[in-house]
Amino acid sequence: MIRDVLRKPWLWSFVAAFLVWLATMAFTGFKGGGELISAALTFATFFVIVGIGQMFVFTLGPGNVDLSIPATMTLAGSVAMKLMDTQDSMIVIGLLVALVIGVGVGIFNYILILGLRIPPIIATLSSSFVILSAAIAYGRGLRIKPPPLLAEFTTVQVAGIPVLAIAVVILAALMGVVLHRTIYGRSVTAIGQSIRAAGFAGVPVERIRFLTYVLSAVLAALCGYLFSGFSGGSSLSMGEQYLLASIAVVVIGGTSVAGGNGNLPGLWGAALFLFLVQSMLNTYQLSAGLRYLATGLIIIAVITAAGGQKTLR
């Protein structure tokens, strides 16, 4: 039993997050440990939301990645904020519009990938430019405040634990069930291992790939909506840090980059880890150069400690 847990690839991300937290606390003499965890939970929540979508995309196999996440967040966030115009009564409509934008982006991405046979990495990069342009043309970079109720929902805490984090823990658990126990999830992992074999085994390959890119875009849009609510409005640059973060969270969390092997608990470990590393280095007051250097080395150290996949035959 314990041996089984020890062999789980996601364990390492939690261990790393805990060690980083300890290292931070050692510096402050264990002052503010709880506050730090609560802050980490808050921000990790948003990483996890986009990480889930990115993870499903990664699981589709090598070459699959969604680089349009930041732009989708921006577009969904700015359209929803402008539409709701700080009115509580518009919250649901805003959410729906954001999700529809996600669906639209997913469809657009998939047209590029399947219809035009553009490799996903370039297809989503190109579409991200188009989406960002749409956000600029529509929102002009203006920062409209969220409705008070939405702001309240995204920031409220129960005993130091953000309610949103609890909701996303449940979401991640649900998506874990989807990945491991539904036909859709099984199909995604099958495609990730061998797209040809999946086709011959009767998996509707294109439909599954389509759904996956739509899922990723919808989650990005949801994240954009919630994050705008949380940070007091949308901005054109709000998605920027989510590009690298969504990828880092997925791979540090133990999902195989070779595809076919998704992993949900690891997203949380990795998201907490990423946030805590930044606060640790800020707490240590290192110079910017040293801070980047240390971030890089810590990421490499964690992935090295966690080790790679073993291969049979």
Binding site: P62, G63, L67, L112, G115, L116, R117, I118, P119, I121, I122, A123, L125, S126, S127, S128, F129, V130, I131, L132, S133, A134, I136, A137, L244, I247, A248, V251, I252, S256, V257, A258, S287, A288, G289, L290, R291, Y292, L293, A294, T295, G296, L297, I298, I299, I300, I303, T304, G307, G308, Q309, K310, T311
Partner: protein, 323 residues
């Protein structure tokens, strides 16, 4: 005869060059002045470092890895070149060699521990950026004169009887040289087959008695070397440095390799295609400038142009059975 020339296989191989040509024609239509030695110089001189970075990325892709740190690494080289290489050349050279050695070490680490290269190189991108900022905390520095002179070099004109002087722009010569060197090294040498084979079927290479560790280290070393050349070419053009000057090269170089007909897995790459891909990407910028799109949509237009260029592939694929 015509059937073979127009067969999907041949068309697919010629696709990168075809895209570049179409774009050139479009540029010529919008601004005939651009199709001149001066125009080529201005439009393509920044293609030289991008082409080198693309070749570096291609080396890594050949062995089924991806380098998300190449942009930051080029930035690091730029910073070292503008400071140490300028002030104390020996120290500068040592640092550049150190960079290549570190690249090889990363390749070794990825192989020995069987790590996903995306994460390791993502980590390395922070390392390079950090080192670059430590070397040059604020923008500045100065390019070594010889580098600036090299990048400004104007080759002598070739007189063509009855027509005038033909001035071949330096960036074109540089691109051709890069393409030929990379092609010969990877596609024509006998060890090049082993290197590509280790991307196609690593187990087979190992069973034939070759060291996969060595192929990985060699390819990452080559990436470090070409990345270094990219940095040196870039500082020769900009003449002054900044840590995050080449961040965008990471995605550009990946796009260049793919535009050039490469694939992410299986060791299927084309050095000549990669260089042409890099030039196509570079050329998309003047094309957009000449098009005068409203600023709101200028960013989107960059995406659209990538889409259009790559969509050609789909059209050709439709013509025949896909691979």
């Amino acid at each position: 005869m015509i059937a073979t020339v127009l067969s999907p296989k041949v068309l697919r191989a010629a696709l990168p060059a075809l895209s570049l040509l179409i774009l050139l024609v479009a540029v010529w239509y919008l601004n005939p002045r651009a199709i001149s030695p001066l125009g080529f110089n201005l439009m393509f001189n920044l293609a030289v470092p991008i082409a080198l970075a693309t070749v570096a990325q291609m080396c890594v892709i050949t062995v089924n890895d991806l380098d998300l740190g190449i942009g930051a690494y080029v930035g690091f080289v730029v910073c070292v070149a503008a400071t140490w290489l300028y002030d104390t050349p020996l120290l500068g050279i040592a640092a550049l060699i150190g960079g290549i050695v570190l690249y090889m070490a990363v390749g070794a680490l990825i192989h020995v521990r069987n790590l996903p290269s995306i994460v390791v190189t993502l980590g390395m991108s922070f390392v390079w950026l950090g080192l670059a900022i430590l070397v040059l905390p604020t923008p500045g520095g100065k390019a070594p004169e010889w580098l600036a002179a090299l990048m400004k070099y104007k080759p002598p004109a070739i007189p063509i009887p009855g027509w005038g002087d033909l001035q071949i722009p330096f960036p074109i010569i540089a691109a051709v040289v890069i393409a030929i060197v990379a092609h010969v090294l990877l596609m024509r040498t006998s060890y090049g087959s082993i290197l590509r084979g280790s991307g196609g079927n690593p187990k087979a290479i190992e069973r034939a008695g070759w060291s996969l560790l060595k192929t990985k280290v060699v390819m990452f070393g080559a990436a470090g070397f070409f990345g270094m050349l990219a940095g040196l070419a870039l500082i020769g053009l900009t003449t002054s440095a900044q840590a995050n000057v080449a961040e965008r090269y990471t995605l550009l170089s990946i796009a260049g390799v793919i535009l050039g007909g490469g694939y992410f897995v299986g060791g299927r790459v084309s050095p000549v295609g990669a260089v042409i891909g890099a030039m196509t990407l570079t050329l998309s910028l003047p094309f957009l400038t000449f098009l005068k799109i409203p600023p709101d949509w200028q960013i989107g237009a960059q995406g659209a142009i990538l889409i259009v260029v790559l969509a050609l592939r789909a059209i050709i694929d439709r013509l025949g059975p896909q691979q």
